[in-house]
């Protein structure tokens, strides 16, 4: 069988779990051991995707998964190319400093392709167009993780905010709430950049409202994140209206739902009142508009009026407006309504808002399966699930790829697409990838950019990783992050050459 020369677009957890599974499935004892090369491309200079630029700083344990990624990268069959943006058309949100590589140039060097570039754009709310004081949760996450796309953007002016309204009730919304309400003295031991801590220390935020259009049983956050919010040291939750916590008759709760309900009923560890910052979980509320700031008000720290429609749940658990409305005075609105893939990525489906894939395999707009083209993670599934779901999905994708490439060794039971056709073939496949490829060739554009010092490899990352930890130790914290300018200087690549 011909070898697998795989290009992976994206170097986040899904990419690394797929790579790790492929490498482990073809150990030195396998006849196909040397018939595998993986080149992983990321538009950012640092690998690990959302593990570096998404996981909340106060969840350092989650980042332990990178040890497994480091192990995978120590296999000589895997190479990482950071700062390379694979494009079909110019991206909507280009990353400064990233090298543009047309997909066409890439695929002529590879027999296999994996799209694993995640969901990198925030889903916006139609009634809340972005402005200086109405931002996506992602932009705040990018700020506190120092994502390359925000390096030259000003930080949020937390010193002038008193009340923040967060729209959406998933884990990202709770992450943002936690970052805004946790005392900086608690956060400073974690991987929070000094520049971010400075802004947090100046914050005037006293109230945070987390608003969702449906009830507690439909909220997307997980119990751990909710429990952390209930245990915040300097905040208390305003008790939730009991009518909103009533469980409709005949509803059978899942384990997670009943534990969520217990937590919400019990309330926060700190009881409301005293000097705590307060937190409101607003259920069955949909924003309908944000009135422009009024400067003449008595309270200049709360310039905005957020209009809310009140909802009830239909028997199908949809949010139906009751006709009642209310308003909320606020200083800043943060929308945390989920994420979607870049529409410019190949085989993007606008109705799904991610890549069109069936059972790991990418499908084109006419319904044909693309030969040797796969998708994994959020790029394939949409933005949902925690690390374990990403890992399980990735292992399934790797297993499918192995079964397609080396069927005699990796036949996969229950593959409906195969069993639906005679002889287990995949039927009418569209071919885009190279039939053969030099196992070690790399597109010239990438080599050229690497020669000028603009493309990183995994050894660069290991050095930067160690240095960040070393700089962090000096400050008594987990690590102090570098941006690309710092990293280039550290690697001795000032002036764009080695």
């Amino acid at each position: 069988m011909p070898p697998i020369k795989l290009a992976i677009i994206g170097a986040g957890p899904s990419s690394f779990y797929v790579a790790s599974r492929l490498l482990a499935s073809l150990p030195p004892s396998s006849p196909h051991h040397s018939a595998l090369r993986i080149h992983m491309y990321d538009r950012l200079w640092a690998p690990h995707g959302l593990v570096r630029y998404g996981v909340a700083p106060d969840h350092p344990e989650v980042k332990n998964c990178t040890h497994k990624f480091d192990d995978a990268a120590s296999d000589l069959r895997l190479q990482f190319f950071g700062n390379v943006n694979i494009i079909t058309t110019p991206p909507i949100a280009p990353v400064p400093g990233s090298v543009m590589l047309p997909l066409k140039s890439l695929i002529s060097h590879y027999t296999h392709l994996l799209l694993s570039s995640g969901c990198t754009l925030p889903t916006l709310h139609p009634a809340l167009p972005p402005s200086d004081d109405c931002v996506s949760a992602l932009s705040l996450v990018h700020w506190y993780t120092q994502h390359p796309s925000v390096v030259h953007k000003p930080p949020p002016p937390l010193e002038k905010y008193k009340h923040v309204s967060i729209i959406g009730q998933g884990n990202v919304s709770l992450d943002v709430a936690r970052m805004l309400l946790t005392p900086p003295s608690t956060l400073e031991k974690y991987d929070v950049p000094e520049s971010v801590l400075e802004v947090l220390r100046r914050s005037s935020i006293k109230h945070v409202s987390i608003l969702g259009r449906r009830g507690p049983l439909q909220a997307a956050f997980t119990t751990k994140e909710l429990r952390e919010m209930m245990n915040l040291e300097d905040s208390s939750m305003v008790p939730i209206d009991h009518t909103h916590l009533a469980i409709p008759e005949g509803t059978k709760l899942t384990r997670q739902q009943s534990r969520t309900m217990q937590l919400l009923q019990k309330g926060s560890k700190n009881k409301p009142g005293l000097d705590f910052q307060d937190l409101v979980v607003g259920l069955l509320r949909s924003p309908t508009g944000l009135a422009p700031p009024l400067s003449s008000l008595a309270s200049p720290s709360l310039p905005y009026t957020l209009s809310l429609a009140h909802n009830e749940l239909s028997p199908e658990m949809r949010a139906i407006p009751t006709g009642e409305t209310s308003t909320l005075r606020t200083s800043m609105v943060v929308t945390a309504l989920g994420h979607q893939a870049e529409p410019t990525i190949p085989w993007y489906d606008p109705s799904l808002r991610h890549v069109r894939a069936v059972g790991s395999r990418v499908v084109n707009e006419t319904g044909h399966t693309m030969k040797n083209v796969y998708a994994s993670g959020w790029a394939a599934m949409g933005a949902r699930g925690v690390l374990v779901s990403t890992m399980i999905d990735a292992y399934g994708v790797a297993d499918t790829m192995l079964a397609d490439s080396f069927p005699e060794q990796f036949y996969k039971e229950g593959d409906a697409l195969r069993s639906a056709t005679d002889g287990g073939s995949l039927g009418d496949l569209s071919e885009v990838m190279a039939k053969e490829a030099d196992l070690d060739s790399v597109p010239e554009e990438v080599l050229d950019a690497k020669a000028t010092g603009n493309v990183t490899d995994y050894n660069d990352w290991r050095m930067i990783d160690q240095e960040e930890v070393r700089r962090g130790e000096k400050l008594g914290k987990e690590r102090e992050r570098m941006n690309w300018e710092d990293a280039k200087a550290f690697l001795g690549r000032m002036g764009g050459s080695l």
């Binding site: 969840h59 344990e61 989650v62 332990n64 998964c65 040890h67 497994k68 997980t222 119990t223 751990k224 429990r227 384990r255 997670q256 534990r259 489906d349 109705s351 799904l352 069109r356 894939a357 069936v358 059972g359 790991s360 499908v363 707009e365 006419t366 319904g367 925690v386 690390l387 374990v388 779901s389 890992m391 399980i392 999905d393 292992y395 399934g396 297993d399 499918t400 229950g414 593959d415 409906a416 697409l417």
Partner: protein
């Protein structure tokens, strides 16, 4: 009411030490350790191993090359080391703490006798325990979304 809290702190600190040393546990002399059977999701025996009192199931699995993930390395921040225990052994264990339950909420194929491998420490009375690995791959050909045609 002090003792359960103290016990929980003690359990946690032991476990944190273990977390730093995954794969570093020592094997008992053959025939002297606590027996533990690992089975795959179909119930087939993978391996029977011996371990020492206090060793946790995740570390034991890694020591013996059993395919049990531990993405957060035993810090109760993921559910990748989910195992299903035999009911008798499950009943002998102290109840899971809130943080473990929070992670079990997200485990795939959760059962009434599910635990996180990193939180199960062996005692003499657990000799002969069976830990079954849940099915690691979702059947994506059934779950997979149908493509939309344009």
């Amino acid at each position: 009411m002090l003792s359960p809290a103290v016990d929980s702190i003690r359990r946690r600190s032991i476990h944190l030490t273990a977390a730093c040393q995954h794969g570093d546990i020592t094997r008992p002399a053959p025939g002297t350790g606590i027996k533990l059977h690992f089975k795959d999701s179909k119930g087939n025996l993978i391996k029977t191993v011996e371990a020492n009192e206090g060793d946790d199931v995740l570390s034991i699995a890694h020591e013996h090359d059993i395919d049990l993930e531990g993405a957060c390395e035993g810090s109760v921040a993921c559910s990748t080391c989910h195992v299903i225990l035999d009911p008798n052994s499950y009943d002998l264990l102290p109840e899971p703490e809130d943080d473990e339950n929070d992670m079990l909420d997200m485990a795939f194929g959760l059962t009434d006798t599910s635990r996180l491998g990193c939180q199960v420490q062996l005692t003499r009375e657990l000799d002969g325990m069976t830990a079954t690995l849940p099915s690691a791959t979702r059947n994506m050909f059934v779950d997979g979304k149908k493509p939309t045609h344009h």
